[in-house]
Amino acid sequence: MRTTDKVALNGAGEAKSPQVQSVDQPTTSGARHEVLGLKRETLQQIHYQLLLARFFDERIWMLNRQGKTAFVISSAGQEGTQIGIAHALQPGHDIVFPYYRNLALVLALGATPREIMLGQLSKAEDPSGQGRQMPSHFGLPRLNIMTVSSPVATQLTQAAGAALASKIKKDDKVTAVFVGDGGTSKGDFHEALNFASVHCLPVIFVVENNGYAISVPLSKQMHIQNISDRAAGYGMPGVTVDGNDVLEVYRVAKEAVERARSGGGPTLIEAKTYRYRPHSSSDDDRFYRSREEVEEWKHKDPVERFERYLEEQSLLDNATKQKVRKDVKRAVDEAQDYAEKAPYAAPEMALRYVYDEEVR
């Protein structure tokens, strides 16, 4: 694996999303976050990341309407799952195979708004591939965020392979891989979970169950209630979690990551959640789901729920709420401003990097 620091931006003058710290130590009683051992700063990070992801998401849809980006695919509604998992990992040490829906995840892992916006606008400095891929096809060597492709579910066996390498090398890394409910119907899901279980690999499989594979509802995808029920068929633990409850997601993920790191093998985590937007900017979800259904889910919004929790714990006041909103807006404005000015890769650059260019 080789890095592209030449294009990975860590430049000054840039609003960075706070880095995730390694997991804090749990206490036994008290408020939920205390039981989970989450420090106040961590809660503030989570809060910031939830709002950043949501706001960034709204911004790129706006850019799409303005004709400034040809394709948008959204994490709106699923931030709770993605950020909850991110905090159970050690960014930069652990290995992550995201999928195209994982904007909130990669931001929480430490990708900067600028890095992501450069990808969204397909500019030469896009660290995921100089604009070669569609937006949201993430990839960031410095954070072990493995390059995302479009074919659904191919990342699952690859994640098992990365975890196998960690087992052979004894490098203490855990691999986390993400897939949608639709992706679980593909043979890759079966083959990956089976292999990971046979070899007791340090990997967690995260299914973001948002109820649809584009237009195809769960009822036409599978004849079971919980995707996590499939774990038993591989002799691995499986858990279903409310994906819009970031603290609960963190709890089950932390347990799974610790099990994986300590040699206990893989876990299947199903997070039940919902996407607010159409599948992508090329989709129109009115063909296949009611506005009522979408509205209903918005009452379970992961961002609002977490803010309510912080307020109940009097860890969040209105002034802070406004400040954070200002901060994320500034971060996204700056990212957009930089990315819009940034140049495209030269056309002939399309010919580069088919093979290793350093030998012969």
Binding site: F71, K123, R132, M134, S150, A213, Y344, P347, L351
Partner: protein, 329 residues
């Protein structure tokens, strides 16, 4: 007569065949309620119901296997791959199974199934929504491979494919789906276009161009340009890639003595290689110039960013330039 796009032509063909033959049914991802991501199958589920227009789980290997099994049990499935790019999980079923059911059983069983797939680039689809995959399948005995260019042929050939008693891959160039400039008046009366016949869509004497899909249209555009320069380009619409209409291909070059093959897919081992190889053997004595191929560059797939995508795609200017060079050789 009615003016139709490529997309409407395919859809009309599906409607007609499903009305005509109860054993025809459609399956694929999002083909039902959604009417397909390109809306080719729009309205089918409403008329024919969920039994004959099936939204499948996301698994291309399964889509192909289910279609094959249903075909072996008397049905005529039309399976859609949402993008040709995603046909690879089904290659074992298509190459090892569909193509061999009749052969391995010495005619004991057959597999009349149609595999539809939108292919081709220039639509900002990036690496995984722009691929051309015809080279893989046109190599395989037991399969038939169709890649039309005009709405009339799309309709006549999808109907022929559905009635064919062997597995057919039917490739639809997504950039041409709604292209207004290529709309055609299509008769309301039933018609079929035979599989395995190419068509000289422009008579000429200077050189012969062989193409299909979007490249066929761009070749015609380039031919117009060269006409003003006094060159008289013959353009052959291959329509069927396997079985190839060798006679039409060879006769055209016997007449013009010069051949140019154009496709989007990368050149090395691409479909154009077979055309060139056939001509280098069977039309050798008639060749007045090297056989030329204009194709996508040798990179894994089409980049998303517009400047790079534009760099990748052949276009009328590049084709015209290739014609000029070859004409002046």
């Amino acid at each position: 007569m009615a003016l139709k796009t490529v997309l409407e032509a395919v859809r009309d063909g599906l409607f007609e065949e499903m009305r005509r033959d109860e054993s025809v049914f459609v399956l694929g991802e999002d083909v039902g309620q959604r009417g397909g991501v390109f809306r080719v199958t729009e309205g089918l589920q409403k008329e024919f119901g969920e039994d004959r227009v099936i939204d499948t789980p996301l698994a291309e290997g399964m889509i192909a296997g289910v279609a094959i099994g249903a075909a072996m049990n008397g049905m005529r499935p039309v399976a859609e791959f949402q993008f040709a790019d995603f046909i690879h999980p089904a290659m074992e079923q298509i190459i090892d199974e569909a193509a061999r059911v009749r052969y391995r059983s010495a005619n004991g069983f057959s597999c009349p199934v149609v595999f539809r797939a939108p292919y081709g680039g220039g639509v900002q689809g990036g690496l995984y929504h722009s691929q051309s995959v015809e080279a893989f399948f046109s190599h395989v005995p037991g399969l038939k491979v169709i890649a039309p260019s005009f709405p009339y042929d799309y309709k006549g050939l999808i109907k022929a494919a559905i009635r064919d008693n062997d597995p057919v891959l039917f490739f639809e160039h997504k950039k041409t789906y709604t292209l207004p400039s290529i709309k055609q008046e299509i008769p309301d009366t039933e018609f079929i276009v035979p599989i395995g016949k190419a068509k000289v869509v422009r008579q000429g004497t200077t050189l012969s161009v062989f193409a299909y899909g979007m490249m066929l249209h761009q070749s015609l555009e380039a031919a117009k340009t060269l006409e003003q320069e006094g060159f008289n380009i013959e353009v052959v619409d291959l329509r069927t890639l396997r079985p190839l209409d060798r006679e039409t291909v060879i006769n055209s070059v016997k007449k013009t003595g010069r051949a140019l093959v154009v496709h989007e897919d990368n050149m090395f081992g691409g479909f154009g290689a077979e055309i060139a190889a056939i001509l280098a053997d069977e039309a050798f004595e008639y060749l007045d110039a090297p056989i030329k191929r204009l194709a996508g560059p040798e990179i894994p797939a089409m980049p998303f960013a517009e400047p790079m995508e534009h760099f990748f795609m052949p276009n009328p200017q590049k084709i015209a330039e290739a014609m000029r060079k070859l004409a002046q050789y």
